[in-house]
């Protein structure tokens, strides 16, 4: 293992992470909800009366974020290697997996660990290990 110093961004990542934690705190302390993206979106696919508006509003805010940051002159340039087929398979796995596992990086990884939930710790270790194994196979064995 070597450290990728060219791409490692400790301070912006720490600050951006703190902002994510602050957003989760806002949703929790103002709306009483847990900021788990897969759960919020998944709930819209099984809508229940009185439980839709806050979900739509949160997703709306998420979708408005790039435009808001662009106004401040902050862009982002993603590096994406995956082709069409890989994106489709990956999307299906992420959609189904987060539904069966009741959460993703935000719900289990950020909010769950913040709550010291053992269930979320197990989920986080499982998806981290699976992600690392997948990248190992894709990058170093094929």
């Amino acid at each position: 293992m070597t450290i990728d110093w060219a791409h490692f961004t400790p301070w912006p990542s720490l600050a951006g992470g703190a902002l994510i934690g602050f957003a989760a705190a806002m949703l929790l302390l103002l709306s009483g909800r847990v900021a788990g993206i897969s759960g919020i979106v998944g709930g819209l696919l099984r809508p229940q009366r009185g439980d839709v508006a806050w979900r739509l509003a949160f997703v709306g805010g998420l979708l408005a974020a790039p435009a808001a940051l662009a106004l401040l002159g902050q862009g982002h340039a993603p590096r994406i290697d995956a082709g069409f087929g890989t994106l489709v398979v990956a999307g299906l796995l992420v959609g189904a997996g987060t539904s069966y596992g009741s959460g993703c990086t935000s719900g289990h990884g950020v909010c769950g660990l913040s709550r010291l939930s053992v269930r979320s710790l197990v989920a986080t270790l499982a998806f981290m290990a699976a992600g690392m194994a997948t990248v190992f196979v894709a990058r170093h064995l094929s």
């Binding site: 961004t9 703190a18 508006a53 992420v94 992600g131 990248v135």
Partner: protein, 137 residues
């Protein structure tokens, strides 16, 4: 009012994802590639988020209510079952394949990244398949 706060939270959340670098799948895969040229940034993102989140959840737990007096909707399950672990493993495989998880994928979709649109469509299909399977159970 509640919807307005939720919108603001989503906006700040998305801004945090962009500023932290997590909307770049190359950075996510760089973190997952522990055997190669490792980019530890994602650990700093989670560290920053959990540091703030820990105090928020502790404060909310002590208050028992939101600042507006509303109810807290917290998960109450504690069981660790095959669905939790199996689902998380399946999610992790998809995450490692493309470098997208749900939040960053939605943000990238909104900033006009074509690949993110493909990923989000497939992700919604995966979630819809689950919702259908649950209804048929």
């Amino acid at each position: 009012m509640n919807a307005l706060f939720s919108f603001a939270a989503g906006l700040v959340f998305g801004a945090g994802l962009i500023l932290s670098g997590m909307t770049d799948p190359g950075k996510v895969i760089g973190f997952l590639d522990v055997a190669g040229n490792w980019d530890p940034s994602l650990a700093f993102v989670m560290g920053g988020a959990i540091l703030v989140g820990f105090f928020a959840f502790r404060g909310a737990g002590r208050r028992g209510r939101t600042f507006l007096g509303g109810a807290l909707h917290l998960p109450n399950r504690r069981d660790i079952d095959a669905r939790l672990v199996g689902g998380s493993v399946v999610f992790g495989i998809g995450w490692g394949l493309a470098g997208f998880c749900p939040g960053p994928a939605l943000v990238s979709f909104a900033s006009g990244v074509d690949q993110a649109a493909v990923f989000v469509a497939a992700m919604l299909a995966g979630m819809a398949a689950y919702a259908l399977a649950e209804r048929l159970r």
